[in-house]
């Protein structure tokens, strides 16, 4: 079966005082398996809304999303953590919903997140760095066809960042990636389809330079 995600005439509006605000306007986008999609956008351009729509966390106001591959939650997202759950509890939960045997993933997550004995302590006792490492480790513990990345934020020290890159962009390099960011970093070298999101409109460009020219004039 062909693997893709298709957004058809997707618009998203939010009610604001005295009217409605368009976060996304009539977006048409087909993400094919193996695409490395980079989307540049300023703050408030609708980037995070777009990621939420693709992940399924938010439904479009009009239009539809057809999903024919396994799409990740936004990478390293921490919103699903519950303070009283331990790192292990969170791992078990994630594995259970995705139908993966958690026992097979314990070693990987424990090693990767470098939490030591804190892995068995409630998440509320973690430092922000520990949380971020756990979130990252959980994101890559589950195998997806398509990874969503909302701003590549540097997590941990140099060595940890290097391992993240290795696990994600090299070991899973054949997968699909959707990266939204306000900075060209990573997008420039890594992505093979380039977009700019501006005021809710999505524009595709042939080359990075074209996209960058357009984006830097916004």
């Amino acid at each position: 079966m062909e693997k893709f995600v298709k957004l058809e005439n997707v618009s998203k509006t939010f009610p604001i005082k005295g009217g409605i605000k368009y976060a996304l306007r009539n977006i048409n986008l087909t993400i094919n398996y193996g695409d490395r999609i980079g989307i540049l956008g300023l703050n408030g351009s609708g980037k995070s809304t777009l990621i939420r729509i693709i992940s399924g966390a938010t439904k479009p106001t009009t239009g539809k999303v057809i999903k024919r591959m396994k799409v990740s939650w936004p990478l390293a997202f921490q919103g699903g953590f519950q303070g009283s759950l331990t790192g292990l509890d969170n791992l078990k939960f994630i594995c259970r919903i995705y139908g993966v045997d958690w026992k097979e993933k314990v070693k990987f997550v424990q090693d990767f997140a470098e939490l030591g004995k804190y892995f068995y302590e409630p998440v509320k006792t973690y430092s922000s760095g520990m949380r971020a490492r756990l979130a990252f480790a959980l994101s890559i513990a589950i195998d997806f066809d398509c990874y969503l990345i909302d701003e590549i934020v540097a997590v941990g020290d140099q060595r940890f960042q290097h391992r993240c890159k290795l696990e994600l962009f090299e070991k899973k390099g054949d997968r699909t990636f959707v990266i939204v960011s306000h900075s060209p970093h990573h997008i420039k070298d890594f992505c093979n389809r380039l977009f700019v999101l501006s005021d809710g409109y999505l524009f595709e460009f042939e080359t990075f330079n074209q996209a960058w020219n357009f984006y830097s004039k916004l």
Partner: protein
């Protein structure tokens, strides 16, 4: 032919995923709500126990036990426990979506899974508490062996169904409007008194009773009381009325949730 075959398979697959997600949510909720020692679970046992004890105490104190053979402890026990099936489930369900929004980033977790998992956990804990308390009170001779188990079970299921339907409605409403969260506690409090879980239809004057019989909860409470206590008084119920009511409420709940889904904003 092939098409319809794959379609059925796909739907079955969807159901499998849903069951898997709900199971994971229940296990997660078990830890977050009750803690690792699971003491919170005991509350569904102690709350009706405490109330039944209090009422029995007053009953004895005013000398009613000498004038009447009415099984007051069993009457309170069964009505209260049965009523918790809707009161606890609604109060757990209505915040289910707002409290767990972050989980919706996992696209296989649907809002309805959040509601159903909370309902299921509450159903299991209320039922467990009721069975434990029933056995204890039964051991001391305060609760008789059920007169008709089928009515007891039917009433139990109908009340759980009522709780689920209302839980869906309120969870959707609390997404659609912030005001709902504020008035729901007051609603639960008032309805707890009026629902019929704590009084029998026979206690009411006929001209008042006819209005109270619009409440499906009174019909259901009458059924479980009959199931447990047998023909010690006149019961007023129609099996089809709560079934009919629940069907409509469930349909309304699903529709409202569909509308609410488009409004859910995840931080």
């Amino acid at each position: 032919m092939l098409n319809s075959g794959t379609k059925i398979f796909k739907n079955f697959d969807g159901l499998k995923v849903m069951i898997r997600v709900i199971k994971a949510l229940v296990m997660r909720e078990l830890i977050t709500r009750y803690g690792r020692k699971n003491v919170g679970f005991l509350w569904t046992f102690f709350e009706p126990a405490f109330f039944a004890f209090l009422v029995t105490l007053v009953w004895t104190f005013i000398g009613m036990h000498e004038r009447s053979t009415f099984p007051i402890t069993a009457f309170i026990y069964i009505g209260y426990s049965n009523g918790l099936l809707w009161r606890n489930t609604i109060s757990q369900c209505f915040r289910a979506i707002n409290a767990n929004q972050g989980l919706l980033y996992h696209s296989i977790v649907k809002p309805i899974d959040l509601v159903i998992s909370r309902w299921l956990l509450e159903f299991l804990s209320v039922t467990g508490g009721a069975i434990a308390l029933g056995l204890l009170l039964g051991g001391f001779g305060y609760v008789p062996f059920p007169h008709d188990l089928s009515y007891l079970l039917l009433g139990w299921i109908l009340m759980a169904w009522f709780g689920l339907s209302m839980g869906l409605i309120f969870s959707a409403l609390s997404v659609l409007s912030e005001v709902v969260e504020h008035f729901i506690q007051a609603f639960l409090y008032i309805f707890w008194i009026l629902s019929g879980s704590l009084f029998a239809a026979e206690f009411l004057p006929p001209n008042v009773r006819q209005y109270f019989l619009y409440l499906p909860t009174l019909h259901i409470a009458e059924m479980v009381r009959y199931g447990l206590l047998g023909p010690i008084m006149n019961y007023y119920y129609d099996i089809f009325y709560p079934v009919f009511f629940n069907l409509i409420a469930l349909a309304v709940g699903f529709s409202l949730l569909k509308i609410a889904e488009r409004k859910i904003e995840v931080e």
